[in-house]
């Protein structure tokens, strides 16, 4: 009879067989490597969907900036480049701490893993705090898109002074709003991703403290790292595109 049956363990490498008993191995995977590869691929595929998600807003940014260049420059001028710059540094710093957390997960150093995860969370909160301050300023000036949108006249005058004599630099206040729509949508969705990331990382700290991770099994940390770095990359593009146009 042309029937093939195989002893389960024979189908796999010996190494795989050893790993079968790892508590972190889900029942439907053959071995840890298959499980880790699946997780990594899954996270990358998820990040691709994130690229497309932010991509829609970047497309809107591109088209509206192309049709309202002066308004975008003027709007950008009204953002605080210092706070934006600090936030960029904070986020890059948090990427470093995240990378180090992965490093210590790989090398099995539990206390440093927890420390750097906490550092990442802390930097995340610093970023969100600064962002909140920026949002607060805009709220207090009424520069919030919507029916009650107000132009911050002081900043506008500064901007016009900065560009005095340049005819093309005049700004239609109604369309200035479009910059702030894009600004709030992009930074808001980005901040939402930060908050989710902080939440995920808090869970990881909890798991790490309960000794769940080892050099063999730490893909949660790696995947959270990939996500966090992605959020960092989005900001790397947002910073020059939102804060740095119209400065010269």
């Amino acid at each position: 009879m042309a029937t093939q049956t195989l002893n389960h363990a024979d189908a796999h490498h010996d190494a795989a067989h050893d790993e079968e008993h790892h508590p972190g191995l889900a029942h439907h995977f053959d071995n840890m490597e298959q499980q880790r590869d699946s997780g990594t691929l899954g996270m990358w595929v998820f990040l691709v969907t994130e690229i497309m998600f932010f991509g829609g807003m970047f497309l809107a940014y591109m088209l509206f900036r192309a049709s309202n260049p002066n308004e975008f420059a003027a709007g950008s001028y009204q953002l605080d480049v210092l706070l934006g710059g600090i936030n960029t540094a904070v986020l890059i710093g948090s990427s470093l701490t995240m990378a180090l957390a992965v490093f210590f997960a790989q090398t099995g150093n539990k206390s440093l893993l927890v420390l750097f995860l906490l550092a990442t969370i802390l930097l995340g909160f610093v970023f969100l705090g600064i962002k909140a301050v920026e949002y607060g300023t805009k709220f207090s000036h009424g520069t919030i898109p919507g029916r009650n949108f107000k132009v911050e006249h002081k900043k506008m005058e500064e901007y016009e002074e900065h560009h005095h004599g340049d005819a093309a630099a005049n700004v239609d206040p109604a369309r200035l709003q479009m910059f702030f729509v894009i600004y709030f949508m992009l930074t808001g969705v980005h901040a939402l991703h930060m908050i989710i990331g902080i939440g995920v990382m808090s869970v990881l700290v909890f798991f790490a403290l309960r000794n769940r991770y080892s050099p063999e099994y730490h893909s949660h940390i790696e995947l959270a790292g990939l996500y966090w770095h992605f959020v960092d990359i989005v900001w790397i593009f947002l910073f020059p595109l939102l804060y740095l146009i119209g400065r010269h």
Binding site: G42, V45, T49, L59, R175
Partner: protein, 576 residues
């Protein structure tokens, strides 16, 4: 039982117990259905087969809700005057019909039900790569469905399923925001399903299951998943922007403060055109399987059919602008989009020709799934070819937004996808439930569906060329006769959909028990018991035969011995 059988042991090795080989009694054994009967074991299951059944119930429910809306629409259109319902109500009817059928039925139907059930079985895996995410995707589907349903129940939506701004953002007084959020959530369900399929196909294949030994079902689902992953985020952000615009009046799509309504159309169709292929490709997946099994032939030009799925997925992303030919899009862009739209027709044509060629010198049986598949080929050919009318720039100007478009996409969606879905449900019914459905009733209802479908939608081509616009509550009296024909067909179609519902439910209790492989098919899913055990296979299968290898016994390879080319290492995907 349930060791791994080669595709051909049964017809040659085992005496057939009864004519047709259908009646072999299956010992009562543990399978995924009888493993646990508690409600909790269903609602918290991580078994892909049980999740598929959860999807089957919920998706079928919404299909019947959507059909009721369709019947009401056809009833209203019996007479030229808008006399059954008011205009505002009619607008809600077609909007609800569209939203339910597209987002709650067509998009999840085949991938989430049959795909979920079969992808792990066909590649010889125990489950999808992320079972919890799979369950999460069903819950997201249900949450999205509840949000959409509540929007419908508290007052409804009247924007059309495509939510064109500025009507949806600044003018409609209906529950657009709620419906938009519901579809946003449904989108995530779809993304997670796609993600699971992609990863599963890459990392979970059984030893020896190389890419070109995969059933074409898997290739098509892989292509479908690509679209789900790359397109759905864009509709998510588009709807989010719409909800923002509607809630805060921020003017992203409002021209009076520099916004652009056509940008919405670009973003919307960037997803929604490829979404057509989310609905179409899984249907093609089923047809490939059915044609092969019921003609006992390997699919003619396997690689062409496999890569045509990928080509459709890729080209499908390049053609969305053909929905904007008369929307003030630039003429140059129209030219590009038109050209690529014709290019996407080539892989579809390849599939149709290859299916037809597969029949050549086959051993063709006329079982219900095959009848649906043959109907599919004809109707999909008409649906696809009439799509070319709409891709042709000058022709589209006259036909767009008329009933011609309605007829065209119903030929593709109902004549194509829905027929394939019904064929697939019949084909895998023995595997899913362990029971056989009554064949005579199956053939009869397939015939009814075919006739009713053509009567419903063919007159709409004529109506469209005459100029009858879509979404019209009342219409000039000279269009009445064709509309009456269409409504008459719709009632026949409704009967055709109701009969399978009845006899399939009947078969759950009274249907004869199914053997492991009632059709003498080749896929791995037939190499395990019907219904399969929770872990799918008692032993991990090792694949040494090609897809659809209906080889006569004497030329068959010795099954079970790995040749040097067959890499048993499942994770061998990485790096090659």
């Amino acid at each position: 039982m349930s060791s791994i059988n080669s595709p051909f042991d049964k017809p040659f090795e085992q005496p057939v117990d009864s004519p047709g080989g259908r009646m072999r009694p299956v010992p009562a054994e543990r399978n995924y259905l009888n493993a646990d009967y508690s409600v909790r074991s269903w609602l918290l299951t991580k078994d892909h087969k049980r999740i598929a059944l959860l999807y089957l119930f919920s998706v079928s429910f919404f299909f019947f809700i959507g059909s009721i809306y369709a019947m009401l629409i056809r009833l209203e259109l019996l007479t030229p005057k808008g006399d059954l319902v008011q205009a505002a109500t009619y607008n809600k009817l077609f909007t609800h019909h569209g939203i339910i059928m597209i987002f709650l039925f067509l998009i999840p139907s085949i991938p989430a039900i049959l795909g979920n059930f079969l992808v792990p079985l066909m590649i010889g895996a125990k489950d999808l790569a992320f079972p919890k995410i799979n369950l999460l995707s069903w819950y997201l589907y249900m949450i999205g469905a509840v949000i959409v349903s509540s929007a419908i129940m508290i007052g409804g939506v009247d924007t059309g399923w495509y939510f064109y701004v500025p009507y949806s953002s600044n003018f409609s007084n209906t529950y657009v925001t709620l419906a938009g959020l519901g579809i946003f959530v449904l989108g995530f369900s779809s993304i997670l399903t796609g993600l699971n399929f992609i990863v599963t196909t890459h990392t979970m294949r059984a030893p020896g299951m190389t890419w070109f030994r995969l059933p074409l079902f898997i290739w098509s689902h892989y292509a479908t998943s690509l679209i789900m992953l790359l397109g759905t985020p864009v509709i998510a952000i588009t709807l989010l922007l719409l909800v923002f615009e509607r809630t805060f009046h921020v003017g992203i799509f409002d021209p009076t403060i520099g916004g652009d309504p056509v940008l919405f159309q670009h973003l919307f169709w960037f997803y929604s055109h490829p979404a057509v292929y989310i609905m179409l490709l899984p249907g093609m997946a089923i047809i490939s399987e059915i044609i092969a099994t019921f003609s006992r032939k390997n699919i003619f030009g396997y690689k062409f059919v496999a890569f045509s799925s990928i080509a459709i997925a890729v080209f499908g992303f390049l053609v969305w602008g053909h929905h904007l030919f008369s929307s003030s899009q630039s003429v140059f862009a129209g030219m590009i989009f038109s050209f690529i739209s014709f290019a996407v027709a080539v892989p579809s044509a390849i599939k149709v020709f290859n299916w037809t060629a597969t029949l050549f010198r086959g051993s063709i049986s006329y079982d219900t799934p095959m009848l649906y598949a043959l109907g599919y080929i004809g109707l999909f050919a008409i649906g696809g070819l009439t799509g070319l009318f709409l891709a042709s720039l000058g022709m589209d100007v006259h036909l767009t937004d008329t009933y011609f478009v309605v007829a065209h996409f119903h030929y593709v969606m109902v004549g194509g996808t829905l027929l394939a879905y019904l064929g697939g449900i019949h084909y895998w019914w023995p595997k899913i439930t362990g029971r056989l459905y009554p064949e005579g009733w199956g053939r009869f209802s397939a015939l009814i569906v075919f006739v009713g479908f053509n009567l419903t939608f063919f007159p709409q081509f004529l109506l469209g060329f005459l100029g009858m616009p879509r979404r019209y509550h009342a219409y000039p009296p000279e269009y009445q006769v064709l509309n009456v024909l269409s409504s008459a067909g719709a009632s026949i179609l409704a009967i055709g959909f109701t009969i399978p519902l009845i006899y399939l439910l009947w078969s759950l209790r009274y249907g004869p028990k199914a053997t492991d492989d009632p059709w003498m098919a080749t896929g791995l899913e037939w190499r395990t018991s019907s219904p399969p055990p929770t872990e799918n296979f008692v032993e991990t299968p090792i694949v040494t035969w090609e897809a659809y290898e209906f080889a006569p016994q004497e030329t068959m390879k010795v099954v079970g011995k790995l040749t040097p080319d067959d890499k048993p290492d499942r994770s061998s995907y990485s790096g090659n």
